[in-house]
């Protein structure tokens, strides 16, 4: 980029290609009930992308938060350009040239994009008066450079998740740091946007910036990472150049066993239509959606981010009732205007935003699991049958391999992937006939992903009808019986499993 600082870095990069910027040894970090990291090591070279891999809860985010000054380690040393350091606050880290994009988005919704990016670094005059014009111009300049098309003066709350993610990326870049940590930056992005991000990363790399890149998407690893380190259960497993190893090697390192089949699709017996949707419309959002869902069938929904897939799902489940159109369930026309009504029809809906519409963060894993099931069953005269529901919760914990000290742990303290599993458990406990999954494997590690896929397959084979929204084409292709593609609020086609491929879907999604 253009600043003098980074061009200096370019020179330095050329002088010393393998200089180590960051070196970490013997780090330990405990949380109540969990050893998140134990004797962990990590090293980052200048001008390279170093990927961090590991199952959910392996400790990746925790390590990065230690580097960024958010947590202090219990033990261990951190060396930055050879000097031992210990950051006491995020500011400390920022001032030492370490910036981080957080896994959980960290923006202020009622402030503008520009204000969000330059917070604490607003251009101001000698009197301390902020120059908003200049701030907007700076933002525009930054966006031009990164080829981001977002109005700097929009309030962040109006942005889609993907746009917010791009703002976060731009903000991190704007620090012009030497080390840039990206914690699952692509979990909310589709392929085009991911490609865009990679271009940005390559350019940063070329300017000598060291990038730590956390992801659960294996293909990204090979595309962007120079080397990678694997963690398992808070311990360090190893570091390799990404050119040296195969995909299966990495998975083995991560999970400690073989994961042979990512998409264990069981050919289910597809039964009678259970749900018929006709001309479903939500004014101004999507239009004229019609399809049939049958028992044991998995319909995958594909489309670009913002194409309206989540909105359709929300409407089907009564979160935002339709303005027109018909929904028939088991041949009966039903008006679904609240989630309660949908659940009464045997529907279940895993939402895409874990934090906003999924988790009850201050409550225990157990409470999080049971809540949806209480309405229809497990309670008599309003009194909850704790025993039988607890038994089922424990079964779910085991079956889904939810990593938590115990079920009374606050869900807040679980890693993102394990939170996701607990939420899946929540809906399975309601014994649904129709299951809508919105990005069910977002932010989930490969092992767990395969398990969730197997679970979905198995449910289908037991006759449950499933709608699965996913932004990962291989997942949609691997799991679905039919694939519905959306583009800007319209249904552009439904493809049969045997006719579908990446190209066809992309044609329908982006035309």
């Amino acid at each position: 980029m253009l600043s003098s600082k980074t061009s200096k870095a370019v020179k330095a990069y050329k002088e010393n290609l393998t200089e180590t910027v960051l070196e970490i040894t013997g780090i330990r970090k405990e949380f109540p009930g969990v050893v998140a990291l134990d004797d962990v090591q990590f090293r980052l070279q200048k001008g390279t992308v170093h990927a961090l891999m590991g199952e959910n809860g392996a400790g990746k985010s925790t390590l990065m938060k230690i580097i960024a000054g958010i947590y202090t380690p219990d033990k261990g040393t951190i060396r930055l350009r050879g000097d031992e350091i210990r950051f006491l606050s995020p500011l400390d880290a920022l001032e030492h040239g370490i910036a981080m994009i957080h896994q959980e988005l960290a923006l202020m919704p009622f402030m503008t994009v520009a204000e969000n990016i330059w917070i604490r670094r607003e251009p101001q005059n000698a009197l301390g008066i902020i120059d908003h014009k200049k701030m907007a111009a700076q933002t525009q300049e930054l966006f031009d450079r990164l080829r981001i098309l977002i109005d700097p003066l929009t309030e962040v709350r109006f942005l889609t998740v993907a746009q917010r993610q791009m703002v976060e990326i731009a903000k991190a870049v704007s620090y012009e740091s030497d080390v840039l940590i990206m914690d699952e930056p692509t979990s909310a992005l589709t392929e085009t946007e991911v490609e865009h991000l990679f271009e940005i990363i390559r350019e940063l790399k070329a300017h000598g910036i060291g990038i730590v890149y956390i992801t659960h998407k294996m293909n990204e690893l090979f595309e962007i990472a120079d080397e990678f380190s694997v963690f398992r259960d808070g311990t360090y497993v190893g570091t390799h150049a990404s050119s040296e190893v195969s995909r299966d090697d990495i998975i083995r390192m991560m999970v400690g066993r073989e994961v042979t089949d990512m998409f264990p699709k069981i050919e289910a017996n597809i039964g009678a239509p259970i749900m018929e949707v006709e001309g479903l419309t939500l004014d101004g959002v999507f239009k004229d959606i019609s399809f049939q869902l049958r028992e044991g069938e998995i319909i995958g929904m594909a489309g670009l981010v913002g194409s309206g897939r989540s909105n359709v799902a929300e409407t089907l489940f009564g979160v935002t009732p339709a303005t027109s159109g018909k929904i028939k369930i088991s041949d009966q026309e039903i008006v679904i205007d609240s989630p309660g009504k949908a659940m009464a029809q045997g529907m279940a809906f895993l939402t895409e935003d874990r934090k906003e519409t999924g988790c009850f963060l201050p409550l225990s894993v157990r409470e999080n699991m049971q809540i949806a099931a209480l309405k229809e069953s497990y309670s008599r005269y309003g009194i909850v049958d704790q025993q039988s529901i607890n038994k089922l919760c424990v079964e779910m914990e085991t079956a889904l391999r939810i990593k938590t000290p115990d079920l009374d742990e606050r869900i807040e303290n679980l890693s993102g992937g394990n939170q996701q599993k607990a939420l899946i458990a929540r809906w399975l406990l309601t014994k649904p006939r129709i299951l809508i999954l919105d990005e069910p494997t977002r932010g989930i590690d490969v092992g767990a992903k395969a398990e969730i896929h197997r679970l979905v397959s198995q449910l289908a084979s037991e006759g449950v009808a499933i709608i699965m929204i996913s932004s990962e084409l291989p997942e949609v292709l691997g799991m679905s019986d039919r694939i519905m593609v959306m583009h800007e609020g319209h249904m552009t086609g439904i493809l049969d499993r045997k006719d579908a491929n990446q190209v066809k879907i992309m044609e329908l999604a982006a035309r």
């Binding site: 109540p32 009930g33 969990v34 050893v35 489940f317 979160v319 609240s338 989630p339 309660g340 949908a342 659940m343 809906f349 939402t351 906003e356 519409t357 999924g358 988790c359 009850f360 963060l361 201050p362 409550l363 409470e367 049971q370 809540i371 949806a372 209480l374 309405k375 309670s379 309003g382 009194i383 909850v384 704790q386 914990e397 085991t398 079956a399 889904l400 391999r401 000290p405 115990d406 009374d408 742990e409 929540r426 398990e451 197997r454 679970l455 198995q458």
Partner: protein
């Protein structure tokens, strides 16, 4: 789905002590301080005095009854500032149906010497109604609970004053006065607390209350009818404020427009001292009971030690803060230690 090895390192298990023990120890701490000061300053025991122990709870029973209702409101992430005024309003209205015929200036001269059930039903009904309005405003219009209940606070106080143009309403029947007699207020308080302690823990009503407080959007998507539940929760809080109004009036044998002033703040303080989080989603009635008793302990203790009234207030503020600080600190420590 094969259940795979689920190795849980035993050492990592967190001690499973109920949260409540935390705040219980604050109560014990405060009690011990008063006991020691009692011996040092007055040469006598503070705690070994059954009369004082009764008074300690008796004088805060009304606050306690309100606090139980307020606790569940706070758990939903809301707040209720109207309780004190609702106490006054229900006291005035209920009392006007509890007057004896021998009193010449009864509010409704034709409606005297009624069976006690009438004023009780009226009082509970008035409280319930006020609470429902609160809940309705919050759930249906989406205004912040702080404002809806602030409005009710001002309005209910106004109604209490307007009802008899400021005249107190006195001379209740013996049956009515009996509600506030002896340790009845304590029994009512602890009974209510017990019901809600179990209610919040073991019923759907309770689970939904916590869920809404923790994340209203997620609660909605989980099929909970958030609006109607919110209305229920505030209605229950109003009902309990009404009950508190009945008890206050029966105890004082008079109802006055100025009754219950600022009780809402004491009740909220009791709940928060007892570990209920104003952010919603967390709290226990047991904690609220302890919080209430801490307030009562303080009042009795100050009088016992003959602390100057001026200093009482100055110190009271400090103690409320200190109790919560201790609780927060111990929670943090516990979190670290395990």
């Amino acid at each position: 789905m094969t259940p795979l090895d689920k190795t849980k390192p035993a050492a990592n298990q967190r001690p499973k002590l109920p949260q409540e023990l935390n705040i219980l120890s604050v109560l014990i701490g405060v009690a011990i301080i008063f006991e020691i000061l009692g011996w040092v300053i007055k040469g006598q025991s503070f705690l070994i005095n059954p009369q004082r122990l009764t008074i300690m709870i008796l004088q805060v029973s009304v606050i306690g009854i309100i606090a139980v209702g307020v606790t569940q409101v706070i758990i939903t992430g809301g707040i209720d500032l109207s309780s004190g005024s609702v106490v006054a309003m229900t006291a005035m209205i209920a009392m006007s149906f509890a007057q004896v015929g021998t009193y010449a200036r009864a509010v409704y001269p034709e409606l005297t010497d009624l069976p006690v059930i009438v004023p009780v039903a009226v009082g509970l009904g008035v409280g319930l109604f006020a609470g429902m309005i609160n809940g309705f405003l919050i759930a249906k219009t989406g205004i912040p609970p702080f404002i809806a209940t602030l409005g009710m606070m001002v309005t209910a106080r106004g109604i209490a004053k307007w009802y008899t143009e400021g005249q107190p309403v006195s001379f209740p029947s013996d049956d009515f006065a009996a509600i506030g007699d002896g340790v009845w207020p304590v029994v009512i308080f602890l009974g209510v607390a017990l019901i809600f302690h179990f209610g919040l823990k073991y019923t759907r009503y309770g689970k939904f209350t916590y869920a809404i407080g923790a994340n209203p959007q997620a609660a909605r998507v989980s099929g909970i009818n958030v609006q109607s539940h919110i209305i229920k929760v505030y209605a229950v809080a109003g009902l309990l404020a009404g009950l508190a109004g009945l008890v206050t009036a029966a105890r004082a044998e008079t109802a006055q427009a100025g009754m219950g002033m600022m009780y809402e703040l004491d009740a909220i303080a009791a709940a928060v001292i007892g570990g209920t989080s104003l952010a919603g989603g967390r709290g226990r009635i047991f904690g609220t009971v302890i919080g209430t008793i801490i307030l009562g302990l303080m009042m009795s203790g100050f009088t016992f030690l003959r602390v100057d009234a001026y200093y009482q207030e100055i110190v009271k503020g400090g103690i409320i803060v200190a109790a919560v600080v201790t609780d927060v600190y111990r929670q943090k420590k516990r979190a670290k230690a395990s």
